[in-house]
C-alpha cells in the first residue's frame, strides 16, 4: 500500500468532517418545532406528570430506573444527582466533554415489600419500606430548598428532554441514530441504529437520556409522539392538575406557546448557555418578599435570590420578572392582563394548542 502523506491525511479528514456535517444537518432539520412552556409559579410538586409518563412509557424491563419526566425541588441536586455539574453541550459551538451519570446518581428503582405488607398478613406489624438502605433517589432532597428561616425558599422544577433545536445528543452519536422528526422537531433515538454506546448521554447537558441495561440501548422522552400524531397532548401535560404545562408549536402565532415565548417573552429556556437551544421554556417563579431582622416584611429584596434564577434561566430573567410584576399590578388596579389570563388557564384545553383530543375517544390500536 502506498504511503499516505500527512497532507493527504489532512485532506481526507476535512472531507470526512464535511460529510459528517451535512449528515448531521439533515438529521437536525425540521419544518416545525413542538415546544412546551412550564409555569413554575403553579407547579405543586405532586409528581402526577412523573407518574403519568412512567405508567405510559417506562414500565418495561430495563426501564425501572427511568423517569423521562422528573420534578425536583430547587435549589437541589436534581435528577440525576448534580446533573448541572456534569458538563456536555457546546461552548462557542465546540462540543464540551460530559460525564455519564451512574444508576445511583439517577436513583435506583427500589424494591418494596408489597407482598409482605399487603398480602402476607403483616399489614399491622411491618412498615412498607424499600429493601436495603437507600441513600439517594430521584426526589431525595424534596422540599429542602435553600435559604435560612424565616427566609427559606424553594420551588419545583419539572424537566423532560428539551427536544433541542441543536441537540448535543444528536451531534455526539457516532451512528447517526438520533434525529429530529421532520414534521415536529421531536428528538428520537432509532432503536434499530442505537448500539448503546452512550456518547449521547455524555454529551447531553441535561442528562435526559437513560441506558436500558436489558436491551442495551439508550432511551429518552419521545414527547408522546404517538399521541401527538393523533391530536392528543402529552400525558404529563394532560394529567397535570396544576394547569401549567403548555404544549404546542413554537410558530403557531395563535397558540399560547408562541405568545408566551416569542411575543410576550415571559418564558425562558433552562441553562441556555449550553448552546443546545432547548424547546422547553419556563415562566420563572415570582418570589414572596423577605422578612427583615425584626420580622417585618421587606419588599425590597426577593426571597429567591435573583442570581440563582439568573444561573438557571439567564440574564433575561430579571426582565421577565419585571413584566410579570407589572402585569400583576395592572390587574390589582382593576385592569386586564392577557398574559396573566393566559397563564391562569381558565379553559383547561387552552393549554394544548391543536392537541386537544381526549385519548379515551380514540379508536383502540389494532394489534
Amino acid at each position: 500500500m502506498a504511503e499516505v502523506s500527512e497532507q493527504q491525511k489532512q485532506q481526507r479528514a476535512k472531507e470526512l468532517a464535511s460529510e459528517l456535517k451535512s449528515q448531521k444537518a439533515l438529521l437536525k432539520k425540521s419544518k416545525r418545532q413542538l415546544a412546551m412552556v412550564f409555569d413554575l409559579n403553579k407547579c405543586l410538586g405532586c409528581q402526577t406528570c412523573t407518574i403519568a409518563c412512567k405508567t405510559l412509557w417506562t414500565r418495561d424491563e430495563g426501564m425501572e430506573y427511568m423517569w423521562w419526566a422528573t420534578v425536583n425541588t430547587q435549589p437541589g441536586k436534581g435528577t440525576p444527582r448534580d446533573w448541572e455539574k456534569m458538563g456536555g453541550g457546546f461552548r462557542d459551538e465546540e462540543p464540551q466533554a460530559g460525564k455519564l451519570p451512574t444508576r445511583r446518581d439517577f436513583g435506583e428503582a427500589w424494591d418494596f415489600n408489597y407482598d409482605e405488607v399487603f398480602y402476607g398478613g403483616k399489614g399491622n406489624s411491618v412498615h412498607l419500606q424499600p429493601s436495603g438502605d437507600p441513600d439517594w433517589g430521584p426526589n431525595w432532597d424534596e422540599d429542602q430548598g435553600g435559604g435560612q428561616y424565616p427566609n427559606s425558599f424553594y420551588f419545583y422544577l419539572p424537566r423532560i428532554c428539551n427536544h433541542c433545536t441543536n441537540p448535543a445528543c444528536l451531534e455526539a452519536c457516532p451512528r447517526n441514530a438520533i434525529y429530529k422528526r421532520e414534521e415536529d422537531g421531536i428528538v428520537v433515538i432509532s432503536e434499530e441504529r442505537c448500539k448503546g454506546y452512550r456518547f449521547c448521554t455524555e454529551a447531553c447537558p441535561y442528562k435526559k437520556i437513560y441506558f436500558n441495561h436489558v436491551r442495551q440501548l439508550s432511551q429518552k422522552c419521545i414527547f408522546c409522539y404517538p399521541r401527538i400524531e393523533k391530536g392528543v397532548a402529552t400525558a404529563c401535560a394532560r394529567q397535570c392538575p396544576g394547569r401549567l404545562r403548555f404544549v404546542g408549536y413554537l410558530d403557531d402565532e395563535n397558540g399560547p406557546i408562541h405568545k408566551l415565548v416569542k411575543q410576550w417573552k415571559v418564558a425562558l429556556p433552562l441553562h441556555a448557555e449550553h448552546g443546545t437551544q432547548p424547546n422547553v421554556y419556563y415562566v420563572p417563579p415570582i418570589s414572596p418578599p423577605r422578612f427583615d431582622a425584626d420580622g417585618n416584611i421587606d419588599e425590597s429584596k426577593p426571597r429567591i435570590p435573583t442570581d440563582y434564577l439568573k444561573y438557571l434561566f439567564g440574564p433575561d430573567v430579571e426582565q421577565v420578572l419585571a413584566t410579570l410584576k407589572s402585569e400583576m399590578a395592572k390587574t390589582k388596579a382593576g385592569g386586564k392582563s392577557e398574559i396573566l389570563d393566559t397563564l391562569i388557564v381558565y379553559e383547561w384545553k387552552s393549554l394544548f394548542g391543536p392537541f386537544t383530543k381526549d385519548p379515551a375517544t380514540l379508536e383502540p390500536r389494532k394489534v
Partner: protein, 218 residues
C-alpha cells in the same frame, strides 16, 4: 502472516487454553489509537485526546485452519477484566477481526466504503460465548447480521485475555454477509481491541492500522 494448516478438530482448537495452540506460530502486532479525525462524531473528536485512546498496544495473533474451519486466537495483556455493563458508566472489553467482504482494498481506518464493504468478527466480554458477524460500509455503519456463523470462546487469567474465534472457511449461504475463505489463498486482515476500563467503545479503540496479508496454507 500465516494461517497454519493443522489436523486438529474444532472442539479442541476452540478452547483458548488448548495445548494445540502451542504449535501455532504467534504474530505480535503493534496496535495504534484510531485516528481522532476519523471519529464520526464532533463530540468524540472534541472530548477525547488521541493519546488516551487505544490503551491496549500489543496483541498476539495466531491463525490456523483444519481444512474446514478457520480459527483465530487473540491474546493480550489486560490487568482489568471488564465484563458486564453493570452501570451506565461501565464498558466491557472486546476484540474484533476485520477483513474485506469482497476483496479489494477498502480503507481499514474508515471501516470500508460504500462500494467496498468490510466484514468484522466481533466479540465483547459481556456477550460471553457469543460472537457477532458484522458488515460495515464506512464509519459508523456497522450492522450485525441476523445469522452469525462465528463461534467464540474466551478466558481471562493472569491479567490477560485469550479469545478464540472459529468459523467454517466457506459460508456459502451467507455470501453477502461474511467473507468467504479458502486454503491456498490469502486475505487482507486487521484487528481491534476495546479496553473497557478506558471507556473504549465504537470507533474509540486500538487497531492494527494497516492491512496484513494472511496466507492460508494448503
Amino acid at each position: 502472516m500465516i494461517c497454519k494448516k493443522v489436523a486438529v478438530a474444532r472442539e479442541q482448537l476452540i478452547d483458548p487454553v488448548a495445548a494445540e495452540w502451542k504449535n501455532v506460530p504467534a504474530e505480535p502486532l503493534k496496535m495504534d489509537a484510531t485516528p481522532l479525525a476519523n471519529q464520526p462524531s464532533e463530540y468524540i473528536k472534541a472530548s477525547r485526546d488521541e493519546k488516551q485512546i487505544g490503551k491496549i498496544r500489543n496483541l498476539l495473533v495466531q491463525a490456523a485452519h483444519n481444512g474446514s474451519d478457520i480459527f483465530f486466537r487473540l491474546t493480550w495483556e489486560d490487568e482489568s477484566q471488564n465484563v458486564d455493563i453493570t452501570d451506565n458508566n461501565l464498558f466491557p472489553d472486546g476484540c474484533g477481526i476485520l477483513m474485506p467482504l469482497n476483496g479489494g482494498d477498502p480503507p481499514i481506518d474508515e471501516m470500508g466504503s460504500k462500494d467496498w464493504p468490510v466484514n468484522a468478527w466481533f466479540w465483547r466480554a459481556d456477550f460471553k460465548d457469543v460472537a457477532r458477524n458484522t458488515i460495515a460500509r464506512g464509519l459508523g455503519t456497522t450492522q450485525f447480521s441476523k445469522q452469525c456463523p462465528i463461534q467464540v470462546k474466551s478466558t481471562w487469567g493472569n491479567a490477560a485475555w485469550a479469545v478464540v474465534f472459529a468459523r467454517p472457511l466457506a459460508v456459502p449461504q451467507q455470501q453477502s454477509e461474511t467473507v468467504q475463505l479458502e486454503a491456498g489463498k490469502s486475505v487482507k486482515i486487521g484487528f481491534a481491541i476495546w479496553e473497557g476500563s478506558n471507556g473504549e467503545r465504537a470507533g474509540v479503540k486500538s487497531f492494527s492500522k494497516e492491512w496484513r496479508e494472511l496466507a492460508l496454507e494448503i
